[in-house]
């Protein structure tokens, strides 16, 4: 009852995650910018609204792309002990999630196209609650596989129907 604050999880994610987040958000912004340019060109009588909107988009995109990955990298952390999995994620809005190993139902890895380029993978740990999947983004592939292996073994040892 004396302790009243949680420390951050022990492990940082792979530093390449910063590059991955940058590229991914850049791709999103490029799509938006491209749509704006197409509309701008296609409209017969362009007025001042189009360049202003485009400039705003570029400014917001630059701010997002330069700030978000650094910030995220400092927030995203994870830890798995014998009894629990603990993750911290987000940047502007942050969330810490803790789930007991005994209640884990599935452990999956996923690699999206951008993640594959950077040799990364993410791990999703689900429990019986639809509200509580724990996601660890930006792990090196080998580290993700090792974590999955590790958690699978521990979960089987724990047993139970996990609800």
């Amino acid at each position: 009852m004396t302790a009243a604050s949680l420390r951050a999880p022990a492990h940082l994610v792979d530093p390449r995650a910063k590059a991955y987040w940058t590229v991914r958000s850049l791709a999103g912004w490029l799509v938006i910018a491209a749509v704006q340019i197409i509309v701008w060109v296609a409209v017969k009588h362009p007025d001042a609204v189009h360049p202003i909107l485009f400039a705003v988009t570029v400014a917001v995109a630059l701010a997002h792309v330069s700030v978000m990955p650094q910030w995220r990298y400092r927030v995203h952390r994870w830890e798995a002990t014998d009894t629990a999995v603990y993750t911290q994620s987000g940047w502007f809005n942050q969330e810490r999630r803790i789930a007991p190993v005994a209640r884990i139902q599935t452990v999956d890895t996923q690699r999206g196209p951008f993640e594959q380029v950077f040799g990364l993978a993410n791990v999703t740990v689900t429990t019986a609650s639809a509200a509580g999947p724990l996601k660890i983004h930006g792990l090196r592939r080998a580290a993700a596989d090792a974590l999955v292996e590790d958690l699978t073994v521990r979960t089987q040892a724990a047993g139970g129907d996990a609800t």
Binding site: A4, S5, L6, Y86, A130
Partner: protein
């Protein structure tokens, strides 16, 4: 439960072949499907009628009706089910054949419903809920259309299986366990019905159906007699009287419709508990429903007080259980354990279900004052956006500039709402139950057993971190899947989580 479960067991398990649903469903399906297609049929009829060619309208609508009925009958032909020692299996579909299976040892709820048509033909619909029913795309397995007796027998057979699935049944197993009545509908509760606002939903649904008929039939509303009369009357009166008249008309309609809805849903309501601790809920006037919740699936209880019901001193009581359908109509968030009734009654029923009244009656720990600031600021932000949009609309449409001051009312409502939302916030941990209260428009007090909590999420937005607040979310496999304790002081959130589920947070504490 008139057929002994034992007899059914033997009959079903020896004959593991696929069976059809009751042939009486051949009468039910077409009628229901015709009802669903009614707007299209009426639309086609009116369209043909309106185009000047009288016979084409009726021909089209007859054609549609014929196709709909044929498909409805095909549904019976293509649907089969069987019960094996391990599973309930359902096979249906003509072009795309699907087989769905529910493992018997994962059956968590068995609901028997019968609407009016079912009841006149002595049929019932059995809906078998397995653990994953609330995940996307995997809903309960529904056997629509068994004979009523067979449905009841199947239900008791599925529910009163021994807890250990591998163990063979004991011949001494009680067939019809004794039951204790926990609650029964009191006609005096009907006074709460107008405050439930369920009538508003009915009104919107009727409006939607009317809109579809009008739209598909290309009816010119302006030419309809009653509509004309009302519109003329409203044009004669000054604006203020119009607003008042419409408001009163809507209020009366909603009150009447809500009352009718209450009578339809809750006539014959009974909550009973059987020997094994299984809760049974039966209710409904035209459509009768019987739902069972196994003891081991029950994780807690929720008291829900929508704003209007709260001003009238009423409350509802819901079960928080795993495997119950979430987010649908009257069962939103869990099966109803008590319809809108006096709050004291709801607390009594909740206490009887939990076995202790402490979680529902103890005074809750209030949240820090920063939480109040945040609640009010959030409500105000919404009101300001809404008000700005309203004023912009007024200016653009060139309406009376007196309307520009209306957003002032939004702001005062927002402050009141934010304040009340803060007053609702509270949490406690008593007798092994995590208790949290939240919300103003619908205030909910939820008690969830701590051993049903399967994880904690601690969320903080940028603004919450500046105020030193954290929203603690208990995740669970039951009910709404997550129950939030909003805006706690950071240290209190950790302390509370640690107190409720000792040990889980321990390795991560500093």
């Amino acid at each position: 439960m008139t057929v002994p479960a034992q007899a059914l067991d033997a009959a079903v398990r020896q004959d593991g072949n696929w069976k059809r649903l009751s042939p009486r469903m051949l009468l039910v399906h077409p009628v229901i499907e015709l009802g669903k297609a009614l707007p299209a049929i009426v639309g086609a009829f009116l369209a043909g009628h309106g185009s000047g060619n009288d016979s084409s309208g009726s021909r089209w609508s007859l054609g549609i009706a014929g196709v709909v009925m044929a498909f409805a009958m095909l549904r019976w032909v293509t649907t089969r089910y069987r019960i094996t020692p391990a599973q309930v299996q359902l096979r249906h579909g003509l072009v795309r054949r699907q087989t769905r299976a529910a493992p018997l040892d994962r059956v968590r709820t068995v609901d028997v419903t019968a609407h009016l048509l079912h009841r006149t033909l002595g049929l019932a619909r059995v809906s078998i809920g397995i653990g994953t029913s609330d995940r996307k795309g995997r809903q309960a397995l529904v056997l629509d259309g068994l004979g009523a007796e067979r449905a009841a027998a199947l239900r008791s057979e599925l529910l009163h299986r021994p807890a250990d699935a591998a163990q063979p049944k004991q011949p001494t197993q009680p067939v019809a366990p004794a039951e204790v009545e926990l609650a029964r509908l009191d006609p005096a509760w009907l006074r709460f019905a107008p405050f439930t606002l369920t009538g508003a939903v009915t009104g919107l649904a009727l409006l939607g159906i009317g809109w579809r008929i009008v739209g598909e039939g290309h009816v010119n509303v302006g030419h309809l007699g009653p509509y004309r009369a009302v519109a003329d009357r409203l044009e004669e009166w000054p604006l203020a009287v119009d607003i008042l008249a419409v408001f009163v008309a809507v209020a009366v309609f909603v009150a009447v419709a809500s009352t009718v809805g209450y009578v339809l849903s809750f006539t014959g309501f009974r909550l009973t508990r059987h020997d094994g601790g299984t809760l049974h809920v039966t209710r409904g006037l035209l459509t009768s429903r019987a739902t069972s919740i196994e003891r081991r699936r029950l994780r807690g209880v929720e008291l829900s007080e929508p704003l209007l019901l709260r001003t009238a001193g009423g409350a509802r009581c819901l079960a928080v259980a795993t495997g119950l359908r979430v987010g649908r109509g009257a069962e939103r968030g869990g099966e109803i354990l008590l319809p809108p009734a006096p709050k004291a009654e709801a607390v009594k029923v909740g206490a009887a279900v939990l076995g202790t009244d402490a979680p529902l009656t103890v005074p809750l720990v209030a949240h820090p004052l920063a939480a109040r600031r945040r609640r009010i600021a959030r409500a105000l932000a919404g009101a300001i956006v809404l008000g700005a949009a309203f004023d912009a609309a007024v200016l653009l449409a060139g309406w009376d500039s007196a309307l520009l001051s209306v957003p002032g009312a939004f702001v005062s409502v927002a402050v009141a709402l934010g304040y009340d939302r803060y007053c609702s916030l509270g949490h406690a941990f008593v007798r092994g139950y995590v208790v949290t209260r939240f919300g103003s428009v619908v205030r909910r007090r939820t008690a969830v057993a701590a051993d049903g909590v399967i994880g904690w999420n601690l969320r903080s937005t940028f603004f919450q971190r500046r105020l030193g607040l954290t929203t603690l979310v208990a995740t669970t496999a039951a009910g709404r899947q997550k129950y939030s304790v909003a805006d706690l002081a950071d240290a209190d959130a950790v302390r509370f989580a640690d107190m409720c589920v000792p040990g889980l947070l321990e390795p991560f504490l500093t």
